[in-house]
């Protein structure tokens, strides 16, 4: 297992490096002029300012020189400086990442807590009214655009009823925990979609397992239905959920652009959107590095979770 982990970590480093090269090339291929994007069209009036900017940030060099320069800084822990937000990229990620992890992380946990028993219940009550009801709701929330769900929730629970705030908690991350009324709607918005997804997987997985021989054997040995469900079926059915969770980790780091936008919550997703619009390359690259690392780590964690959940899986 340790050998496997070491190999995977080394592979991950190579993957992240390749991702940065590809992204760097793609970013440089975006039409437009970086200096004009940053300085504004007014800079056209002043070619000296454009030239000074390009020289200062190395945009007058070939792309590979720029990449090596960026990589050198990265290896020293320097992710660069945002031209448009006037802060270091590390500082920006330091502000936005915790907020995103809190929002998306809590919604994922909430979704998991609800989706697992719902999926189990649907499988056990297959083709019964309760199954149809949850299936219908799952399809509804999975198909509904996030901005629509969020807006409707705001209109009903904030504008009309006044139960919750119309925007996510503002200020530092401490407020995320103290202003629970403001955090509720964005968490619910994200969780509804995730519950729909997770519960479908869970239902399907339970249905697959419930007809397996080991279930019949356990029942034949006298194990109660509840015991078989919770001790045997549940554990095996969680394997695809572990995969989903592993794949969700990049999302937890990358943020939820639409939800962040609707609820005025400046997290990672919104940071990426803003930076892409303004061609703020250092931020985009910093973001990509974080998400790429999260992706390979998520994949690794999913593999480890397999081994924990399924004793038959052993990594050499």
């Amino acid at each position: 297992m340790i050998g496997f982990l070491i190999r995977r970590i080394l592979q991950a480093a190579v993957v992240v490096l390749i991702v940065t090269v590809i992204v760097f090339i793609l970013l440089r291929a975006i039409p437009g002029n970086i200096a004009v994007a940053i300085l504004g069209p007014a800079a056209y009036r002043n070619p000296a300012a454009l030239a000074a900017f390009n020289a200062q940030y190395g945009f007058d060099k070939p792309w590979y020189s720029q990449y090596l320069l960026w990589l050198g800084h990265l290896l020293q822990g320097n992710l660069g400086f945002s031209f448009t937000l006037d802060q270091s990229v590390s500082s920006l990620l330091g502000q936005r990442l915790p907020k995103t992890i809190i929002l998306v992380g809590i919604s994922t946990i909430v979704a998991l807590i609800i989706a697992v028993p719902v999926g189990l219940l649907q499988a056990v009550r297959r083709n019964k009214p309760v199954d149809y009801t949850f299936t219908g709701l799952s399809f509804l929330f999975y198909a509904a655009p996030t901005f629509f769900v969020g807006t409707v929730l705001i209109l009903v629970f904030s504008v009309k009823l006044g139960w919750f705030g119309p925007e996510a908690p503002q200020g530092g991350i401490v407020n995320d925990f103290t202003d629970w009324r403001d955090l509720t709607l964005p968490v619910v918005t994200l969780a509804l979609v995730t519950i729909a997804l997770f519960s479908r997987y869970m239902r399907s997985s339970v249905l697959d397992n419930i007809s397996e021989d080991y279930v019949r054997t356990a029942r034949a040995k006298g194990a109660s239905r509840q015991r078989v469900l919770w001790r045997h079926v549940m554990r095996n059915s969680l394997i695809p959920i572990a995969t989903l969770l592993g794949l969700s980790i990049p999302g937890i780091f990358a943020g939820a652009l639409i939800t962040e936008s609707v609820f005025n919550y400046p997290g990672m997703g919104y940071l990426f959107f803003q930076s892409a619009q303004k061609q703020d390359y250092p931020v985009l690259l910093g973001f990509i590095v974080v998400v790429a690392i999260a992706t390979v780590v998520g994949s690794l964690l999913a593999d480890v979770a397999y081994a924990v959940l399924d004793p038959r899986v052993r990594y050499a």
Binding site: R45, D86, Q87, S91, T151, V159, N264, Q277
Partner: protein, 623 residues
């Protein structure tokens, strides 16, 4: 000095002339719709004014202040940094904005109106004080000018080669209150005050320092680069702004109490403010928003939400239709007053006379430009996509608000009302075979014009900036109108930055690709902080912001007259001439912001077309 094209968040000119961008996210609040009605005059005028209270102001979407030093390089030259933030703390020497009029406001200026004598100008300070008790002196103005002389070419966002301060010499403070300078020639006094002196913001002596201690930029220009570098670095430490020994010395009506890099700011009154209008509020807060939809959600929630907005904005898509910009329909937000804010600007999109696509010779033909302008239906765009919140652009001078700068001819309205018949006639009579719905081609090159080939088609690519609904609708409408005359416009929606990178600079001057015919970034030009609408930056031959490379000797001569002649006659002559010459395609000037003001707050209206905010004039009322 001139103005540049920009989105709402950009400070100078050419705002997208629409409310709140970020529509690219395509978030709509279609389902929203509580109702209420009010009129502008109802805003907090019915109650008794009370001192104190905290007013909350919604910043434009996706914009937050990120620079406090009021010497903005191009990177930081934005409305949110200057008008929404720095001007509350540090006042420009001359304040422009008389109610809605974009003219000099002597009362709010820190100096008396400049006195001109031939090539010389004298500025006399009023003796206002900084918050640390020292006077706002002539030396503080010299400090600014010296810094411009040292670093403006690369670090001052409004710098124009050949413009201020390179067109002055012998700048000296003859006393603590008097400053004189010599211009390189006798300029039009209104132009020099409105476009050159308007850039100055006095800086306190305490800022004349570097990390190692006091410096001497006020007296020695060569010291200024180091001082600039130090102040620039201090300004980039966002978390240290509030309470900073540097930035806490203010001469504006407000002091910064707190700030975080998310964009949340709290201001308290500067008790030492010397100006005539003292703050009545106890606090003024600015809050950031990711999108206009997010802001609208909070606005609608009103007191249900923890963070009520006192001054916010309505997304254009939710605006009640109106028959005239100053008549407002039913406000969809109850408890608020809706007041449209228009900026002092013109709107247009450039044609590239230097195009290398093969269409350059066509664009150079006046009859073609006239035909294209006849196909731009400004009235329909205003009444349709803009829902009535817009004014036609009638030439190079804004038609709103009323100013002494618009000629009598300009006041008569759109000189090129929609007329497809005339458009087709112009093409037919100049050697083109017009094929409505098809492709019009040149059949008589001798009549079509120099450089135009037999069989050449009227086919152009027109990239336009996404993110503004009404611009997209306007472009589709123009495409349809043009097709009726056999002109093929291939629309190409692109991000704002890509359109401006392509079409906002003179491609020959800026050494960028000339491989484009037309480009519409959605805005035109806002006359801030160069409030006199002369055309030296936009339309003078060879100017960096003359996007399409328009060149016309008579136009150049008329512009030069506007810069040196004190009367408005040359300005009228020039604008009337250029309105007919159509160097660009004039398009409607849409509303900048549909401001929503909570009914218990007064003093917000009239809003400033120069985009300044004046919360020191705001007050709460009790009924």
């Amino acid at each position: 000095m001139g103005a540049f094209p920009s989105t709402r968040r950009r400070r100078t000119r050419g705002l997208l002339a629409v409310t709140c961008g970020v529509a690219a996210i395509a978030i709509t609040a279609a389902a929203c719709g509580s109702s209420g009605s009010s009129s502008p005059t109802a805003a907090a005028t019915g109650g008794t004014p009370v001192a104190g209270g905290t007013a909350t102001y919604a910043l434009p979407p996706s914009t937050v202040p990120n620079y406090i030093f009021p010497f903005d390089s191009s990177t930081y030259f934005s409305v949110v940094n200057a008008e929404d933030f720095q001007y509350l703390l540090y006042r420009p020497l001359y304040w422009f904005g008389n109610g809605a009029s974009p003219t000099l406001n002597p009362k709010l200026s820190a100096a008396d109106a400049p006195v001109y004598n031939g090539n010389n100008v004298t500025i006399t300070m009023k003796g206002w004080k900084w918050s640390n008790g020292t006077p706002v002196s002539a030396q503080n103005v010299v400090f600014w000018i010296h810094m411009m002389q040292a670093v403006a070419s690369t670090d001052w966002g409004a710098f124009v080669p050949g413009g201020f301060p390179t067109n002055v010499s012998n700048v000296k403070a003859t006393s603590a209150t008097t400053l004189t300078m010599t211009m390189n020639k006798a300029y039009n006094q209104t132009w020099f005050t409105s476009n050159e002196l308007s850039q100055i913001t006095p800086m306190p002596e305490a800022w004349d320092r570097t990390a190692s201690g006091p410096s001497h930029c006020t007296t020695t220009v060569s010291d200024c680069a180091a001082v600039y570098s130090y102040l620039d670095s201090q300004s980039k430490q966002l978390s240290s702004w509030a309470g900073s020994p540097i930035w806490s010395i203010v001469d504006g009506p407000w002091q910064l109490k707190s700030f975080n890099s998310d964009g949340n700011s709290t201001f308290v009154p500067n008790k030492a403010y010397s100006g005539p209008v003292k703050a009545k509020l106890a606090e003024f807060q600015e809050v950031p928003f990711t999108t206009e939809t997010a802001e609208y959600n909070v606005l609608q929630a009103g007191s249900h939400g923890g963070n009520q907005i006192d001054v916010g904005y309505l997304p254009t898509t939710d605006a009640p239709p109106t028959k005239a910009p100053n008549i407002i329909g039913t406000n969809p937000v109850s408890g608020y007053t809706l007041s449209p804010l228009f900026s002092w600007s013109i709107n247009y999109f450039p044609l590239n006379y230097q195009s290398t696509t093969g269409n350059g010779p066509i664009i150079k033909q006046l009859y073609f430009r006239q035909a294209l302008q006849y196909l731009m239906n400004q009235a329909a765009v205003i009444s349709g996509p803009l829902k009535g919140y817009g004014y036609p652009t009638v030439g190079p001078v804004g038609s709103f608000p009323a100013t002494p700068y618009l000629s009598p001819t300009g006041k008569q309205g759109d000189p090129w009302p929609y007329n497809p018949t005339k458009a087709k006639d112009l093409l037919s009579s100049n050697g083109w075979k017009v094929v409505p719905g098809g492709t019009t081609t040149c059949t008589d090159p001798a009549k079509c014009g120099a450089g135009i080939k037999q069989g050449q088609a009227l086919s152009f690519t027109l990239p336009y900036a996404t993110g503004t609904n009404w611009i997209a609708q306007e472009m589709t409408q123009l495409q349809s109108n043009a097709a009726g005359a056999g002109i093929k416009l291939s629309l190409a929606p692109k991000p704002f930055n890509q359109v401006t990178a392509l079409a906002a600079g003179n491609c020959v001057v800026a050494h960028i690709s000339c491989n484009w015919d037309m480009g519409n970034w959605g805005g035109g030009w806002t006359f801030v902080p160069d409030y006199y609408p002369s055309g030296e930056t936009l339309f003078l031959s060879g100017s960096g912001a003359n996007s399409g490379g328009y060149t016309n000797a008579k136009n150049d001569s008329l512009i030069n007259q506007t810069l040196t002649n004190n009367s408005t006659g040359p300005l009228f002559s020039w604008q009337d001439y250029l309105a007919q010459q159509l160097p660009v395609v004039w398009q409607p000037n849409g509303v900048y912001q549909l401001t929503e003001i909570v009914n218990k707050l007064g003093g917000v209206i009239p809003q400033s077309t120069t985009l300044n905010i004046n919360p020191e004039e705001w007050f709460f009322t009790k009924s």
